[in-house]
Amino acid sequence: MDSRKGELIRITTLLVSIVVFVLSLPLYFNFNAHAYEMQFVEKLPWIPSFGIHYHVGIDGISLFLILLTTFLMPVSILASWHITKHIKEYMIAMLVLETGMVGVFASLDLFLFYVYWELMLIPMYLLIGIWGGPRRIYAAVKFFIYTMTGSVFMLLAIIALYFLNHRATGEYTFNLLEFYRLELSFAVQFWLFLAFAFAFAIKVPMFPFHTWLPDAHVEAPTAGSVILAGVLLKMGTYGFVRFCLPLFPEASHVFIPVISWMAIVGIIYGALVSMVQDDLKKLVAYSSVSHLGFVMLGIFAFNIQGIEGGITQMINHGLSTGALFLVVGMLYERRHTRMIADFGGLTKRMPVFATLFLIITLSSIGLPGLNGFVGEFLILLGAFRSRILYASIATSGIILAAVYMLWMFQRVMFHEIIHEENKTLKDVSKREFAILIPLIMIIFWIGIYPNPFLRKMDASVNHLLKQTGEKAQTVSNLQTQNTAVIPKIDIVSETKAEW
Amino acid sequence: MSEYLFYIVAAITVTTAVYLIFEKNPVFGALYLIQTMVSLAVLYILLEAQFVAAVQIIVYAGAIMVLFLFVIMLLNLDIKEEARNALPFQRIPAILMGIALFTVICIVIRSKLLQGKQDQYTTAYVQSIGNTKLIGNLLFTDYLLPFEITSILLFVAAIGAIMLAKRKL
């Protein structure tokens, strides 16, 4: 393919993604912050005989995730300017990925959700498998199979819900809002929660389902890593908020200790392992495990601070870790290595880059005044309100975050330049500057004035808490009885009548 | 009379079929198969299906089998072609399975699981119009669409055969 054609493809894709972003902005401005109902709903029959609809809509929870997706897309397309291998296919994969991601966050029909969920898996698989690093096939397959394993259980649970709903209401539908109204027995909730949670926990990824992440990140191209960390991981946490909590409130309450401990272990473990990595991308990947642990802890605090913090932290992680991957990508483009030991002293050659990198690093550490702090503090506050012990242990993660990020920053950017190759490095180009600046502006914005964001979530999060709280109370006695023993009624007998 | 005829023809059919599968020389095999087909045509006449009998001889025994013979001769195959036998151990199980299959089919036939419905085309009715004419009528009225699709199938097959067989297009 000649270069002019490639350039045309790049520019077209970039324009498309920018247009999508611009189109997504009215969602924010026209969003009614006082309503908890789904907004901008569209519902068209798709396969009416099975009760499947093209049913999309957003609330205060998905709003920001969609905006994050549409925002990160042009950024990552700009960051893939250097791709020369199969540009056309690459760009197609990126755009299909965007469709899938936005679809996942917007769908209110579980069937549609599942379709989107799987849809975005394929371009990601290709992005890693075709445009990735040397061990890309291993990483891509690992990523795919890990996610698929979880998805299968989720699919089963979705089908079970479908039939349970039919038995309760006599109507065949995949409508999520209908499912919200179901009164499920505790045993059913228990198993369905497990199935959903398994799928989402892999996606998050929570310890100990995280090992696909470092490999996938290391091998993926820069843009792939950005999207993977920025958006794909959020699908797991989003899934917990959107599906697990409101659909299975009692089960969710029972699982608080399990999930919280997994999250806490993830926070500390991710941080410790991240600390000793010698590959930049791996380091950032493990730090994601730690950050997402915070998000999960916040969500399972079951109070408004925790969940709002969790959602904020999802956005923050998308921005700062996305930015970190971009930065690592820039280094990689220059030196074709990601080993920390190959760098050192870059500040001298690349002062502007150093400043940007530092801001991003600090945002990831959670320095007050930058975005990371708002989310982390709210999460910890929420967790603290529900279980002091959890929050106290998790807070130590912020110490470790400082250790691993600053140590990395020091080894990459500070000291004398040892390697000859590093002496001729160029500072950020205009394109790279254009990539990072919007991210940094939002990092500051959320850090200094997060209130507009938080206000838009209020109604939805309050509603969510009401949903989970009210439903949980109705069967609270049952719950206390069942915490000790795993319920024996399995889903098959519950739904067998339908078959 | 027709009873004996059936038994005789049936015996010939089975014999030639068995010869076919144990015959080493493909040319002879083809000839046995032709004989089988002719015998079957006789059975069709016994079943008062004159048109089918005619087509059986013309198309099957005539056209298709000639094609077979033609290919056999074109490829100039001789007996040693079957030298390599990768699955010698499959011979006995295969025959056993064949017998098992036969048993199963017989059981199905005996169990009368599959029962047909009596239709209007009695022998007398068919003879009053004529077997061939009746088939023709049906083909061009009720079965027009399958008939046309068949023509397309043949067309495609012809093209496909040419595509496959020609070295260079």
């Binding site: - | 298709i64 077979f68 390599r84 295969a94 049906l138």
Partner: protein, 100 residues
Amino acid sequence: MITITHYLVLSAILFTVGVIGVLIRRNAIIIFMCIELMLNAVNLSFVACAHYLNSMQGQLFVFFTMTVAAAEAAVGLAIIVAVFRNKETVNIDDINIMKW
């Protein structure tokens, strides 16, 4: 009195013989002929059923079967010729790359 059962059993015998042929022979052309034999066996049961049920559908089906058989013979033999041209053999045991 010859009943439908006679014809069906004869058809079954012919079919089974065809199956055994397919399973034990290695010459592609003979296997092909065995398949023709199986087709014919089925044809026989069609015609027999049609006769004893006073129906024309059986005969019409046989007609279609024959067309398909003709088409199949044409294409199948073409394939055999093509394979022979490449591999210098029609022994299907030598044509076993369709694995793993």
